[in-house]
């Protein structure tokens, strides 16, 4: 479908206004919203993600593409079913208790949404209870925790322990990330996954949700 390819290409270039109006045109041509989402917007975002991982483009372009994606999604939203938009899985993310750094976590959220996951962002300074309760109530597949200081990293372990205590560790997987977090530290604390950057976090969630 020509128009869907055009939407994807415009999205890749971060042209948000054009993506919005072409998405509207596609709707006016009676194309199903889900098809526009998957074959236009998400297809474009997939290319952006792949090029980012290959260091062919850099973060600013990813952000512009994400902005264009939101512009298109806004047009589609009223016409999509509740599960259409985020059919790939549900992730609860947040910065752990005591930590207020959220830029890395926000980028992870942007990339996950762009890849079609539903993201419940609890913000920063999130307690273990809040992570676990939200994951249970929302039926999330993954809890993603971010920390930017060595002094706040131990809070990640508390979330993992609480999940175990409540017997939820087999249904809710955990992913950790942030500048001082290493793969070794992640496995030592019992996390199911480790994301070293936002693109890698998407890969990690894909693996965790199978």
């Amino acid at each position: 479908m020509e128009i869907l390819g055009q939407i994807a290409a415009l999205l890749e270039r971060g042209e948000d206004q054009e993506v919005r109006s072409l998405t509207q045109s596609a709707m006016d041509q009676s194309l199903p919203a889900l098809k526009i989402l998957e074959e236009g917007l998400l297809a474009g975002m997939q290319v952006v993600g792949d090029r980012f991982r290959a260091h062919d483009i850099f973060l600013p372009e990813v952000l512009l593409a994400a902005r264009a994606m939101s512009a298109g999604v806004e047009v589609l939203k009223p016409h999509l079913g509740k599960t259409d938009l985020h059919s790939r899985g549900k992730v609860v993310i947040g910065t752990v208790q005591g930590d207020l750094h959220d830029i890395g976590k926000n980028l992870v959220g942007i990339m996950l949404s762009g890849a079609g996951f539903e993201v419940i962002d609890l913000g920063k300074n999130v307690s273990a209870e809040e992570f676990v309760d939200t994951a249970r109530e929302s039926g999330a597949d993954v809890i993603g925790m971010s920390a930017l200081l060595t002094t706040t990293m131990p809070a990640m372990k508390q979330v993992i322990s609480l999940l175990r205590e409540r017997g939820l560790d087999s249904s809710v997987r955990t992913m950790v990330g942030g500048a001082p977090v290493t793969r070794e530290y992640a496995s030592e604390m019992g996390a199911d996954g480790y994301g070293f950057d936002a693109a890698n976090a998407v890969e990690c969630v894909r693996e965790l949700v199978g």
Partner: protein
């Protein structure tokens, strides 16, 4: 001597290349008009919202030895432990860009302006470093005017959380410096609020004292190895 320093917002505005560098864009790579526009918007936001301030105070070598010892959890050996006893002067510092900037970044995120918010965050991170550079210059100039430094003296910052100086060292540093006066507060986890703040010690001395190789036990886990650039810059600056 302790003093609070107002810093002109214009003196902490980073270059477009530096902002893009903070976002992982390699130097010299073409980003296109849209990205350039985004950086320009972020820098405008930064000029409007930043309220940069600093506080500095001189300490003796013995005083600094106690501050550095902190909670006795530094890595040993460490570069700073070897450098500070040889310093001509030691000046504790903290600098911040102020709370309104962090609030502006949060507000942009909240209203969905993710691209601008992220760009502004990166610009602010660079600006916080530039506030530190500004303090280095000020302290060095003051020392030269006061006759405590000569043309060969260099000033370089070291911070808790880097190069073996444990982050918990922030507590002793804060107790000695009192950055609360410029609106910087320390949380129980040694995090400074507002977020775009830095702290540490400015070490004055001949450039040789700052030279070290990055083969300490903690260097392999360091994500940046920024010490290489900092030392190189010192060597390149003329007396």
């Amino acid at each position: 001597m302790r003093r609070v320093v107002g810093i002109l917002p214009a003196s902490i505005v980073p270059s477009e290349e530096a902002v893009l560098g903070a976002m992982g864009v390699p130097p010299g790579s073409e980003q296109g008009e849209r990205v350039d526009g985004l950086v320009a918007d972020a820098l405008d936001e930064l000029r409007r919202a930043a309220c940069p301030r600093g506080v500095v105070t001189n300490v003796t070598t013995d005083e600094f030895a106690r501050i550095y010892e902190g909670e006795s959890d530094n890595d040993t050996p460490s570069p700073l432990a070897e450098i500070f006893p040889r310093a001509e002067e030691l000046v504790l510092f903290a600098a911040t860009l102020g709370a309104p900037l962090s609030e502006r970044i949060a507000a942009l995120f909240a209203d969905g302006s993710l691209a601008l918010a992220t760009m502004l965050d990166a610009a602010a991170s660079e600006a916080a470093e530039l506030a530190g550079v500004h303090l280095d210059g000020l302290v060095l100039e003051g020392a030269r005017l006061g006759g405590q430094a000569n043309q060969f003296t260099r000033a370089l910052r070291y911070s808790p959380g880097y190069c073996g100086w444990n982050l918990t060292g922030q507590r002793a540093l804060f107790a000695a410096l009192g950055p609360e006066e410029i609106g910087v507060h320390l949380t129980d986890n040694c995090l400074m609020e507002p977020l775009k703040s830095i702290s540490g010690v400015i070490v004055l001395g001949p450039r040789e004292i700052h030279e070290f190789t990055d083969d300490y036990s903690f260097c392999s886990a360091c994500p940046t190895h920024d010490c290489r650039r900092r030392i190189k810059e010192l060597t390149q600056t003329r007396p």
